[in-house]
């Protein structure tokens, strides 16, 4: 996973709440068996509308998505994170994220930043007034900087450290694999097993 320390880019305002993962990437695009190439499916239905914000030329090169509340609800598909990353997004800002989407984003190194709705509104205003407004998402300093303002955000120290180091969870867990083996030694015998097959 790529390290995330700080990112500066332009941002795109997505003034919608409850953007579910079926909107981020419809099911029909989930059939690929690799992690790349999902950018075509990103907001596929909404992109048919020429007025949709992703189709507006001034936001073409944006790398930060600023969305309404409850972003990423619904299906657990990590393809939603891959689609956003494949398209070029490095960070998403919202006042609330769905739990599974947030967890998926943190596995893949897409930074999800929670800011109060009033701050989201101010960033929307800034990037709608001037689409070239640079937006900095600084994980080291734990703040977002845009339009001359600083918006601090919270993130737990463990996740922050993992993202800043670009560490992969499996590698971290395997360092403690002895404790997994020890735990397995005490599992009760009535717990079910899928093998051998019983019918």
């Amino acid at each position: 996973m790529e390290k995330f320390i700080s990112h500066t880019g332009t941002a795109i305002p997505l003034r919608r709440s409850n953007v579910d993962t079926d909107q981020i990437i419809p099911a029909v695009y989930l059939k690929r068996v690799k992690k790349s190439g999902f950018e075509d499916g990103l907001f596929a239905a909404w992109r048919n509308d020429p007025e949709f914000v992703l189709n507006q030329p001034q936001y073409k090169s944006a790398t930060v998505l600023v969305a309404g509340a409850d972003f990423g609800t619904g299906s657990s598909r990590e393809h939603a994170v891959w689609a956003l990353q494949n398209y070029g997004f490095k960070a998403v800002i919202s006042s609330r994220f769905a739990d599974i989407f947030r967890s998926n984003s943190q596995k893949g190194g897409l930074l999800t930043v929670v800011l109060p709705q009033v701050s989201v509104e101010r960033i929307w205003d800034a990037i709608e007034t001037d689409s070239t407004t640079p937006v900095t998402v600084d994980l080291e300093a734990k703040n977002v900087r845009a339009g001359g303002e600083i918006y601090p955000f919270e993130i737990d120290d463990y996740t922050r450290w993992r993202l800043m180091e670009g560490l992969d969870d499996i590698g971290l867990t395997l360092k403690n694999i002895d404790s997994v083996t020890a735990f397995e030694g005490h599992r009760p015998s009535y717990k079910p097993k899928t093998l051998p097959v019983r019918s």
């Binding site: 997994v180 009535y190 899928t194």
Partner: protein
Amino acid sequence: MSKTLAEKIWSDHIVRSAPGEPDLIYIDLHLIHEVTSPQAFDGLRLAGRQVRRTDLTIATEDHNTPTLNIDLPIADPVSKLQVDTLRQNCAEFGVRLHSLGDAEQGIVHVVGPQLGLTQPGMTIVCGDSHTSTHGAFGALAFGIGTSEVEHVLATQTLPLVRPKTMAINVDGVLPDGVTAKDIILAIIAKIGTGGGQGYVLEYRGSAIKALSMEGRMTICNMSIEAGARAGLIAPDETTFEYMKNKPHAPQGADWDAAIEYWSTLKSDEDAKFDTEIFLSAEELAPFVTWGTNPAQGLPLNASVPNPAEITDVEERGAAERALTYMGLEAGLPLKSIKVDTIFLGSCTNGRIEDLRAAAEVVQGKKKADSVRMLVVPGSARVRLQAEQEGLDKIFLDFGAEWRNAGCSMCLGMNPDQLAVGERSASTSNRNFEGRQGKGGRTHLVSPLVAAATAIRGTLSSPADL
């Protein structure tokens, strides 16, 4: 110290706990399907890793599979590749797989319980948000992303932050015609799609205790639609009775030991929940969604709401967009809405009891000429059982289509889809834009409302017949 049910299961599965780090939680059962697993198996291969516990892992094919002509190769080449990839991965890594055509194939959340692999007190995960279904047994069960699927395959654990707990108390006796589906739709409308974020929900109270296992699964299934990764119901005699004689239920001395443990799985009387909410069963009614998120629902006797009367700006905007998408006018009585397609099935309402309930309503009747109805059992086993009970004949005589098992029209991934502008009454779980096919319009309903709607052609409950 007194604990909630969720906290008890959590403590029993901590492999490692360190200050400032997430807990490392052991996973008792990992369910796999074709959509969210290929990249995870690929990750294992690239790192030269194995599946740590093939004996705690099981796979089935459900999302991409057709429900017609299942003896032919899958027609869509991309769907076929995904299913073939699952078959190759399961063969290569030694994972038990129930393929299309197998008697145990079906929707992953229907298959686990019917095999008896879903048991009280377990931790269960799957790369599917409706894994919350298994919480009906008093298991801590939740959906995960593909990175986590890979993590569980490699280590049989997950690093997780302990969730908060919310008690949802539903007391009283449900009025006639009101079902588990109506309870959960009412709960979601009350707390919103984000209300459960960060929580495990525990459903309690006399109305919950009176439900069958199928009804409990319907409720826990849609916890995710309220934003919660998991929902739970404490196991009781109903649960134990359901477990008996299931293929993978404990046997002999193991059964006795299991019952002893399962009987401890309830929240202590003085346990503190972070949040608690209350609903009265008597006040509930058949419920239906009018919008494009599952919280946009109302009792069937109500009318389409007027966005102008919604004070919250975000909610008003969402309601306006939803009505435009759904092609509905404010003030229209919900019961006057004509539908084109009835979908009876899914991991929410595709179990035998759901089929029985709908069959009872449509028996001896004919469907409205203006509608088509798809009846899709949740698993091949449910289909066989329904056929033994003659339910297939009832549905066919009624004019419905009797299909093979799978996710079918719950999501637009297989051939069963709505066309642009087509309107459904669906027993599934999501009414998102395009969920059942691009441009399709979904009203979420119970199996009883689905059946009555198929008879009248407009959104209806059996009381309207």
